[in-house]
Subunit: 281 residues, 2 copies
């Protein structure tokens, strides 16, 4: 898919990670580039909320089918940190847990295999360089019904920026308190219970961007790059998937794992066999 | 020292970790025992604040002399989590960093070796058992002048408890929001800038406990156990020191390290040589 996207650049191919489009993160990205925090040292991300499982048994319960906090939420955070910092992860360390393996609706011989608690660390640095000066810690906990915390903090040598939900706060070293840099514009559309506010507002901005991109050309057969320039590419998607796999490997091995982006197309049969094998053990 | 303390039980020997005495943690301990959160799953601790370094070069700059976030603050958190949960760490994984190695006052040939960022995970379980069902993550960051965050959260199967500063909040699964379980009584004594509120209030409670303990006996030659029953013993101190050492080992090796409490007295000469050796490399 990455190769195909490269081959037809006139076709729009973007990943559906909408957090990049949330105004708070757009502003954060800009301020980081302008040096608000100085040299970046630590990123700390926390997402807490209720269970991600569907009411009935389905893919959300199954790690191999893409369920769980790491796949669903972690991947959007990995992409976001890449966007915000401009750095990529070189080494990762992770820990996945499934605390709730059965509930009132998923029981009997069925068990949840997807993670409801996921913690990982990433050592990040410039693309191509192998030294990672930036330490990122990401904590995802979906055993907290009745709450929703979405916090992304970047601490640097001269200050820090924190996005809480859809709001952005900042504090420079030497100042007495935090300042609100961008308020929460709120959601004016119909109520969407299933989707947390940052993702909802981000999705809305992304769709607006897409509309502008196509409206720019009369016949809507081509599109303008500007409004969707910040969208993740398929290359970004491959990077995110590689980090996710490395975190899962690390959770099994207990060791730091290197993030090595695939440069050759894999043999699909080989991968399928491996997945089936893994499922059996 | 542990052996000596065991040998003279009529002499009072307690460790100076005062967080156990903070009313918020006393209440949290009680609620955890009563099953407020159900089965404990995850503990998440964050301490953020300004630099721990002294104005001039001294022991606070030197890892070998006991400086740094892990030694100064981490040890009190390790002790606190042992007190709150009743569990001990079996395996730990850690990452230490010194982002600020020189500043306006520490420069030239001198460098800070003590950590200003420390992250560690502990897998905890019942003493004696080797399975660790409880995942603890602890993030200490002392590159954040102008702020002080001290947050200890325990998430369980039926609810959660969070101590923010000296206040305790709780939420049971199914309820709509957090409830304030214990407010901050505040500090009425003279202003103490160097000590954060939770430590200051804890110290105050500990000293009150010590007074009661000795006042209970007319001649003040012996002491009553009751008021200082919750104080950490020298055995607890040895446990904390063992975990600290394991976290430091893990930060070097990059691997999970086992926490093995020393049962025989070490050869002091051997240890000194090892420390000097380590310092050279």
């Amino acid at each position: 898919m990455v190769t195909a996207a490269r081959y037809y650049p006139q076709l729009l191919s973007i990943m559906g990670n909408t957090l990049r489009f949330l105004p708070a993160f757009v502003a954060m990205h800009k301020l980081l580039l302008e040096g608000y925090v100085g040299e970046m040292q630590v990123c700390d991300v926390r997402v807490y909320g209720p269970s991600l499982l569907d009411q009935s048994y389905g893919w959300t319960c199954e790690e191999l089918m893409g369920g769980g906090g790491l796949h669903t939420v972690g991947s959007s955070i990995i992409d976001l940190l890449n966007y915000l910092t401009g750095f990529r992860a070189h080494r990762v360390h992770g820990l996945l847990r499934t605390f709730v393996q059965q509930n009132g609706l998923i029981r009997g011989i069925r068990r949840v295999t997807s993670d409801d608690f996921c913690f990982f660390q990433m050592l990040m640095g410039e693309t191509g360089s192998s030294s990672g000066g930036l330490c990122c810690t990401v904590t995802l906990n979906f055993n907290m019904p009745g709450s929703f915390v979405h916090e992304v903090m970047v601490v640097g040598s001269t200050g820090r920026l924190v996005a809480r939900g859809a709001e952005l706060y900042g504090q420079r070293n030497g100042s007495k308190g935090e300042e609100l840099l961008l308020g929460d514009s709120g959601w004016v559309g119909p109520e969407v219970k299933e989707m947390p506010l940052p993702h909802l507002l981000g999705l809305s901005s992304m769709v607006k961007g897409l509309r502008q991109s196509f409206q720019a050309h009369e016949e809507r057969r081509s599109w303008a790059k500007g409004p969707v320039a910040m969208a993740p590419t398929f290359e970004d998607g491959l990077y995110v998937q590689t980090v996710v796999e490395a975190v899962k490997r690390s959770s099994c091995s207990g060791e730091w794992e290197c993030v090595e982006i695939m440069s050759q197309e894999p043999d699909p049969n080989h991968n399928l066999c491996e997945a089936l094998q893994r499922n059996k053990t």
